[in-house]
């Protein structure tokens, strides 16, 4: 939430002041292309900031990256090609949504897996509760028979 460290950093490095994230001069002429650029920017990390996308950041490095994304879009790249290009240059660290490959699968599977496990355990537990209820409420057929036996005797 706090952009303060980034601001401090940008000042310390003698970078530009608190300009905007996306500056008017960067905006592409074609609104559709600009919208794509914004969408892609939201998924890319500003490398000198702490946990900020280049779309939100006003660091000059983020600006360079935004311009690069727009350059690639203007050159006719598809969204994936732009991402591949940026990842190729800066590594997967730059992606705010990690790819669901290799060890990262754990990250994506953790939630659904825990949900499944939780549901299973809960279901078993609730069934156990209910089972006991049936047992406590009435007599089983054997018990009925035994009762009859006793009463009959």
């Amino acid at each position: 939430m706090l952009k303060r460290f980034m601001l401090v950093l940008s000042l310390a490095l003698g970078l530009s002041g608190p300009a905007f994230a996306v500056e008017p001069s960067e905006v592409l002429e074609d609104p559709a292309e600009e919208a794509r650029a914004r969408e892609i920017s939201k998924g890319l990390r500003c490398l000198v900031c702490r946990n900020e996308s280049i779309d939100d950041s006003n660091a000059s490095l983020a600006k360079d990256l935004r311009l690069l994304v727009r350059e690639r879009i203007e050159a006719g790249d598809s969204d994936e090609e732009v991402l591949d290009y940026v990842v190729g240059r800066y590594g997967e660290y730059v992606l705010l949504k990690p790819t669901a490959t290799g060890s990262n699968l754990v990250l994506y599977v953790a939630g659904p897996a825990m949900l499944g496990l939780g549901l299973l355990v809960a279901f078993a537990y609730i069934r156990g509760r209910r089972g006991r209820e049936v047992g406590s409420e009435g007599l089983s057929p054997e018990e009925q028979a035994r009762l009859k036996e006793i009463m009959g005797d």
Binding site: M1, L2, K3, R4, F5, M6, L7, V8, L11, G17, P18, A19, F20, A21, V22, E23, P24, S25, V27, K42, G43, R45, C49, R50, N51, E52, S53, D56, G91, E92, Y93, V94, L95, L96, K97, P98, G102, S103, N104, V106, L107, Y108, A110, G111, M114, L115, G118, L119, A122, F123, Y125, I126, R127, R129, R130, R132, E133, S136
Partner: protein, 658 residues
Amino acid sequence: MFIELGHFALTLAFAISLVQAIVPLIGAQKGWSGWMAMAEPASIAQFLLTAFSFAALTYAFVTSDFSVSLVVNNSHTLKPMLYKVSGVWGNHEGSMLLWVLILTLFGAMAAWFGGGLPPTLRARVLAVQSSISAAFFAFILFTSNPFTRMQAVPFDGRDLNPLLQDPGLAFHPPFLYLGYVGLSICFSFAVAALIEGRVDAAWGRWVRPWTLAAWICLTIGIALGSWWAYYELGWGGFWFWDPVENASFMPWLIAAALLHSAIVVEKREALKSWTVLLAIVAFGFSLIGAFITRSGIITSVHAFASDPERGMFLLLILGVFMGGALMLFAARASAMEAKGIFGIVSRESALVFNNILLAVSALVVFVGTIWPLVAEMAFARKLSVGAPFFNIAFTPFMVALAIILPVGAMLPWKRARLGRAVTRLVPAMVLALALGALAWAMQTGRSAFGPVGVALGTWLIAGAAVDLWTRAGRAPLAHKLGRIWRLPRADWGKTVAHSGLGITIIGVAGVMAWQIEDIRVAKVGERFDLGSYGITLDSVERVQGPNYISTTATMGIWQGERRTATLYPEKRVYPVAGMPTTEAALDNGFFRDIYLVIGDPQESGGWAVRGYIKPFANWIWMGAIIMALGGGLSLSDRRVRVAAGARKDRGAAPMPAE
């Protein structure tokens, strides 16, 4: 002198906390009432000493005593008084002092209001609470002393971070800490119950108000932080899935789960061991939050102090308390016999489902937060996990929760018929779908997020209303309204809190789906369009503030030829801290905010200007406040107060005077 006394009081409190952590525990074990009874005055003494210590530091800040290094680093004579005071907790050392102040406050409150508790349980609760405060006193005294003096006293201070000089943020940390630390008392209750070997309905009753109080404070704290980010950071983002935000969000989710499962313990004597586990884990997440914020191990924009020594100490505290409590849990949990029995379709089952969804969503946030660390250490992959991941991984659970909530809230205890609850909810369902469809029809070519959010939010609000309506039973209308009015406050609290969630969901969906943004260079005197509004840049002036220099723009908002509002967005520079900030200007509305930001002058002669229309933005925080209000209503319920025995007016109690 005063400063040294403050330091001394803190040391004294540490000594008392050590004794209090041991003696009552032995007393409870042996049945020595004198040993048990010492916990009560000791808790109060601890609190008073810590309060004195806190007052000493506050005094240093208020009088700008620049012989104290903390004051030098975080204050300045020109700073407005409010921020001199909030500067006390606007830094690592001072915020830790606030943390122990609240920790001892909760201990003292448990002593004051704990008259109705069995003596052994009370002694154990206070002893466990005191062991937590002992750990944090040690942390402060050995790694983060706020009372360190300067070798050479400077003429003036270095000022508080300007971004923190804001009313929204001045009160954000105290609320957040009340929440974080409030969960410590639930933890103490859980551990004491495990030592005692007994969890019953009464235990559920004692724990629930504390959880509720902590959850209310967390809700307010998180809402304040989010609101602050929205208007202060200059583009109206309200949630960034930053590690430190997540650190406050995880305890919130778990506390919400605990709140609901404690109801099952209280009413039905089931889910006991699960509730105890949640109470332990909730405070565990608070500790993890403290660790994340202060160790700097996970990079975050918030991080307070990146000091490995402090990080190690906090990790040790986390390890000892979680490890100890969980081992105790493993040893004792099986002894807790559940009594209540219930069918698959019942209120109990619905609450179990609620707990699963909340716990799993907290887990998703947790895994996402620590994943960069795990990936780097275990797999040597340097990667980031940010908002795009959380948005897709977290949202489905909240959607599922929102869908089942109104149905679950309508189900009776023990055994229910699903059809009956659903039939009653048909009007709510129809209304939700109709509004969702309307939203869908009004938007063109945008994501489905908006209509889905509107439908879900309406479903929650209307569902809560239906719940209240049916609760009053069959009666003539006038009679029925009277009955609804006289329903227990807990019922009202539930309705209000659940509709608050609905309002927040609508707000989040509205802002995310329908925001309009405009970035441009505007010349003075020029008019441009923002959505259906016209915006003019009238003038830009330099203004001198108390401790900053501002570039203030005057901008008009027009509807057709009528000028409806004038806004003054600013760009400030705080010369002492050497830091600029943007002060966005907002025209708040019920259905939309207009959000204007002034940027740098351009070479071509104009000014960079950003404008936004943020539909339903205020609903996000309004919903959060309503949720907290619902919690407050529930807390003020007669049954809670009666159940609490000698405890009185707890609703007002958790707020400290600071």
